[in-house]
C-alpha cells in the first residue's frame, strides 16, 4: 500500500468518530455561542485545544465567570487522563518516525485512542494510517464546533442546553461499553465508577477522576500479580 492509501484507510476508519464529533462539536459550539463567546474564539479553542470535555468545561466556567487560572488548572486536571492514554499508545508506536509524534499526540482524544488501540491490536499500522484516522476526526470536531457557533443561537433554551450537554456523557458511555470485552475490565469499570463517585462527593476539587483511575489500575495490577498472571 502507498502512504496515501494508508492515510485514506485510516481516514475511512474515522467516520464513526466524525459522526459522533459533528453533533458533539455542534453542541459545544452552540453552548459557547449561547454563553456569549464569538465565533473566532469558538473555532480557535477547537483548533488549538481539541479536547471535548475540556472545552465543555471551559465554556461552563467562563459562563459562570471563573478566573483564567482556575479554568486552566481545571482543564489541566481533566485532560491529565491523556497522560495515561499517551503512555499506553506509545507501546505501539516504537517504530514510528519521531517527527510525527507531536502531531499524533496533539490529536490524541478519548475516542481516537479507543479506536486506534483497537486497530493497532488487530495488526501493525503505520503512521500514515494513524495520521489519516486522527486528522479526519480533528477536522470533524472543528467543523462541528464552527457549525454550532454559527447556528447554535437557534437552540437557546435551558432545555436544549441541558440536552446538548448530555452528548458528552453519551459518548463516554459508548466508549466505555465497547471496551468492556474482558471480565477484568468490567470489574475495573465498576471499581473506578464507584471510587470516582465516592471521591467526587468527599474530596473537594477535580482530583476525583485521576484518583479513581490510578487506584483502579493499581488494584488491577495487584490482583493480576496475586493470581500469578504477571
Amino acid at each position: 500500500m502507498t502512504s496515501l492509501q494508508d492515510f485514506l484507510a485510516g481516514s475511512k476508519k474515522a467516520i464513526p468518530i466524525v459522526l459522533g464529533y459533528l453533533p458533539l462539536g455542534f453542541a459545544y459550539g452552540a453552548l459557547a455561542s449561547i454563553a456569549g463567546i464569538n465565533l473566532p474564539y469558538i473555532l480557535m479553542m477547537s483548533i488549538l485545544v481539541f479536547a471535548g470535555s475540556g472545552q465543555f468545561i471551559t465554556v461552563s466556567m467562563l459562563a459562570a465567570g471563573a478566573g483564567a487560572f482556575s479554568i486552566i488548572l481545571t482543564v489541566f486536571l481533566v485532560n491529565l487522563r491523556h497522560l495515561l492514554m499517551s503512555a499506553s499508545l506509545s507501546t505501539y508506536l516504537q517504530k514510528f518516525p519521531r517527527k510525527v509524534l507531536p502531531l499524533i499526540s496533539f490529536w490524541l482524544t478519548d475516542e481516537s485512542f479507543a479506536l486506534a488501540t483497537g486497530e493497532l491490536q488487530e495488526g501493525e499500522k503505520n503512521h500514515f494510517f494513524l495520521l489519516g484516522l486522527f486528522g479526519t476526526a480533528y477536522l470533524g470536531w472543528v467543523i462541528g464546533g464552527g457549525l454550532g457557533g454559527i447556528f447554535g443561537g437557534l437552540f437557546n433554551s435551558s432545555r436544549a442546553a441541558y440536552t446538548m450537554e448530555y452528548a458528552l456523557y453519551a459518548m463516554f458511555i459508548f466508549l466505555l461499553v465497547i471496551q468492556l470485552k474482558q471480565k477484568k475490565f468490567i470489574f475495573a469499570a465498576a471499581c473506578a465508577g464507584s471510587l470516582s463517585l465516592l471521591f467526587y462527593l468527599l474530596v473537594p476539587g477535580s482530583w476525583y477522576i485521576i484518583m479513581a483511575t490510578v487506584a483502579t489500575a493499581t488494584l488491577g495490577v495487584m490482583v493480576e500479580k496475586w493470581k500469578g498472571l504477571l
Binding site: 492514554m85 507501546t91 496533539f106 440536552t163 453519551a170 466508549l175 461499553v177 465497547i178 476525583y208 488491577g220
Partner: protein
C-alpha cells in the same frame, strides 16, 4: 493579552503536554510488562470515573430518580451502545431521552 485568548492558549498548553510527553519519552524506552498491564486498565477506568459522578450525582448529590434525566438516559444509551456498537446512535438516542424526559 485579552483574557479569553489567554484562557485558550493556557488550555492548549496544559492539554498538549500530557498528551505529548509520555508518548515522546516512552517510545524510546522498553516498557516493563507490569507497566503495560497497569496502562491497559486506564481507558476503561478513566471513562467510568468520568461518567459515574456526572450521571449519578449531577448536582453534587446522588439522585437516582426520574428527576435526573442524565441517569435515566444512561440505560438506553448503554443498551444502544452494546447492541449497535454505533457512536452516533448512542449519542442521539441518549440526547433524545434526556430531551423527552424534560417534558414529563
Amino acid at each position: 493579552m485579552e483574557r479569553l485568548t489567554l484562557v485558550i492558549l493556557g488550555c492548549a498548553v496544559v492539554t498538549f503536554l500530557p498528551r505529548f510527553l509520555p508518548m515522546y519519552i516512552l517510545t524510546r524506552l522498553k516498557i516493563p510488562k507490569v507497566v503495560v498491564a497497569w496502562l491497559s486498565y486506564i481507558p476503561v477506568a478513566v471513562l467510568a470515573a468520568l461518567v459515574v459522578p456526572g450521571i449519578m450525582a449531577p448536582e453534587h448529590k446522588i439522585n437516582l430518580t426520574f428527576t435526573n434525566a442524565y441517569f435515566i438516559a444512561a440505560f438506553p444509551a448503554f443498551f444502544i451502545a452494546w447492541r449497535t456498537k454505533n457512536m452516533l446512535l448512542t449519542v442521539v438516542g441518549g440526547m433524545a431521552v434526556v430531551f423527552l424526559l424534560q417534558y414529563l
